[in-house]
């Protein structure tokens, strides 16, 4: 087990290096001369060739690429992600101030998905192949297929524009969180519902459920106590481990609802061509992604000793 973890961490370090190379080289795909772009950002449209050269030297852009990379990587490892061209604040600060909003949104989305998925999954499983089951499984497919940006707009249309119950934009009290959380959670709820259903079906075939019935327990207790707890544990674990995947949806949800999180920061920076911030955000997302994948792999290997390092490679 320990060797497995060490090997996985080794692989992770390698992957993160690869991530840094890609993130770094992205900036070189930007059409045009980066020194010129940055100079224009700083000093306005009418910059002289001298100013551009000055910027180039100052930023080390005249050096060979690999030296630029190592210098950049050293800075990144020390937490220096550069400065935002828009606000002149350190990129790391920009990201960290928005982190709580994004985490709050992701957690709320996760909660929404569980609140929908657990009861629907249970009902589907206990009434397998019934109309209720078919309808909920169709609903799950619908949920997977629904673009979250559209769902968000429809929710705004209904609850904010027509009914006037909930605010449209920004972050504030709980009422601000409801619509973005539902938007983010629905897609996940669809997947989680299927998961909950199959987990429940699996549990219902277990011998201890037969024991519970043989004791003379009511069906309510058999399902609601004995089956539920067993079925829910893996589902909650998996949903928790999918946290990083929610961040992907958060980018769009934050943009629709003007939620002041990292996703919105990234989209805004892309349009403002604030590349240092974009770079920082990408690195941040990739780091979270890689870390959570590592946790997923290790915890699965822990839960199921048959899953070993080899499985991932085949």
């Amino acid at each position: 087990m320990l060797t497995y973890i060490i090997r996985r961490i080794g692989v992770m370090v390698f992957i993160l290096l690869g991530v840094s190379v890609i993130t770094f080289s992205m900036m070189h795909f930007v059409p045009g001369d980066p020194a010129e772009v940055i100079a224009i950002e700083r000093y306005g449209e009418e910059v002289t060739a001298e100013t551009i050269e000055h910027v180039r030297r100052e930023l080390g852009l005249d050096q060979p690429v690999y030296i630029q990379y190592f210098r950049w990587l050293t800075n990144v490892l020390q937490g220096d992600l550069g400065y935002s061209a828009r606000t002149d604040r350190p990129v790391l600060d920009e990201i960290l101030t928005r982190l709580p909003a994004t985490i709050q949104l992701a957690l709320a989305g996760m909660l929404v998905s569980l609140i929908i998925a657990i009861p629907v999954g249970i009902i589907s499983a206990t009434k397998q192949y019934s109309i209720v089951d078919n309808v909920s499984m169709f609903g799950a497919l619908l949920g997977v297929s629904m673009p979250n940006f559209w769902l968000g707009l429809l929710l705004i249309l209904l609850f904010s524009v027509h009914l006037g119950w909930l605010p449209v934009f920004g972050r504030g009290g709980i009422e601000h969180l409801i619509l973005p959380a539902i938007t983010l959670g629905t897609g996940m709820a669809a997947i989680t519902t299927r998961l909950m259903r199959s987990s429940m079906l699996e549990v219902l075939m277990q011998n201890y459920i037969r024991t519970a019935r043989a004791k003379g327990l009511t069906e309510k207790l058999v399902i609601g106590k004995h089956a539920l707890k067993n079925a829910v544990i893996p589902v909650v674990t998996i949903v928790g481990l999918q946290f990083a995947h929610l961040l992907e949806g958060a980018v769009i949800v934050e943009t629709i609802f003007a939620w002041p999180g990292i996703g919105r920061l990234m989209v805004g920076s892309i349009f403002a061509r604030d590349f240092a911030v974009v770079q920082g955000c990408v690195l941040f997302f990739a780091l979270i992604f890689v870390l959570s994948n590592l946790i997923v792999d290790i915890s699965y290997a822990y839960l199921d000793p048959r899953i070993r390092y080899a499985r991932r490679r085949v």
């Binding site: 390698f14 991530v19 890609i22 497919l141 297929s145 673009p147 524009v161 997947i191 998961l195």
Partner: protein
């Protein structure tokens, strides 16, 4: 010489076709898959025949007829510039399906090829390709696409490029897995012992194994590509005006949600129906291509 090749091709076809028929028979039993297939085929027809079906010009502005509600003349109403929404949706099918087909085509081809090479050659080549796959999979897909498209500048071509860059990894992984399992079962060695060439073995024995999962992935992946395209366009990175694209139509409707909600509702509906039908078809294909393997959990 030629007749031998023809003979071989025919015998290969005869070998394949009963299987294809069998798969189709199984697919037909799945009601949702049939519905999915029917919708996908109709959408394809709509895309091809767009100029003949669309009641109006999708780009022509008519400022006198702004934001009309659905009526007999404009079945789905008009947008902020007085353009027929129905016609724009019909032409939008073209855009979405084209991008879907092209990106899926490119990524499936590239991924399959790299997966074949990685699995078949093994060693350093395998290690190298798979580590690149690992690195790409370390990014949340949509975020990477968003950044690439953002850096390259708005436009459909750049979106296609971005989605292709992130899309090939899944195919490579799956195909490599198929190759390895074929190797494990030893019949590659057997063929080689009989004097089969490497290329012959790859295309004759290994590729058909990998085809089923690739077809399923491509069908489901098409939905993913169309959804991502719409999402990026919605954010303003994809199609640029006046091109009729579903995502950007949605985004254009946002400002008029209060007065003209149909601008928001119809494009989203088009996206959802398309993706839903591809999902139906993909799920059905998965069951039909491998009846033993029950629907596994997708996370």
């Amino acid at each position: 010489m030629e007749s031998v090749a023809v003979e071989r091709a025919i015998s290969a076809l005869i070998k394949v076709s009963p299987y294809a028929i069998e798969v189709f028979e199984r697919l037909r039993e799945n009601r949702l898959a049939v519905v999915g297939l029917a919708i996908v085929l109709s959408l394809t027809l709509v895309a091809i025949l767009a100029p003949f079906i669309a009641p109006h010009d999708p780009i022509e502005q008519n400022l006198g007829l702004r934001l009309l509600s659905p009526s007999w003349q404009y079945l789905l109403g008009t947008d902020a510039l007085g353009r027929c929404i129905m016609s724009r949706l019909i032409y939008g099918t073209r855009v979405s399906l084209q991008i879907g087909v092209m990106v899926v085509g490119i990524t499936a081809l590239l991924g399959t090829l790299l997966g074949l090479i990685a699995g078949y050659v093994g060693g350093v080549v395998d290690e190298g390709i798979m580590r690149i796959v690992d690195v790409f999979l370390a990014f949340p897909g949509l975020i990477l696409a968003l950044v690439i498209a953002g850096l390259l500048g708005p436009g459909l071509f750049n979106i296609m490029l971005a989605l292709s860059v992130i899309g090939w990894t899944g195919y490579a992984r799956v195909v490599r897995g198929c190759v390895l399992s074929a190797k494990e079962r030893g019949f590659v060695e057997a063929t080689r012992a009989l004097g089969g060439s490497n290329l012959y073995i790859m295309f004759r024995h290994v590729l058909p194994e990998a085809l089923s999962p690739v077809i399923v992935m491509a069908t489901l992946g098409m939905g993913g590509v169309i959804l991502s395209t719409a999402a990026l366009s919605f954010l303003g990175l994809g199609a640029q005006p006046p091109m009729p694209e579903w995502g950007s139509m949605l985004s254009g409707g946002r400002a008029f949600m209060r007065t003209a909600p149909h601008l928001t509702i119809f494009p989203g509906l088009a996206i959802m129906v398309t993706i839903l039908s591809l999902n139906f078809l993909g799920d059905g294909l998965r069951d039909a291509l491998d009846p033993r393997q029950k629907r596994k959990l997708e996370i």
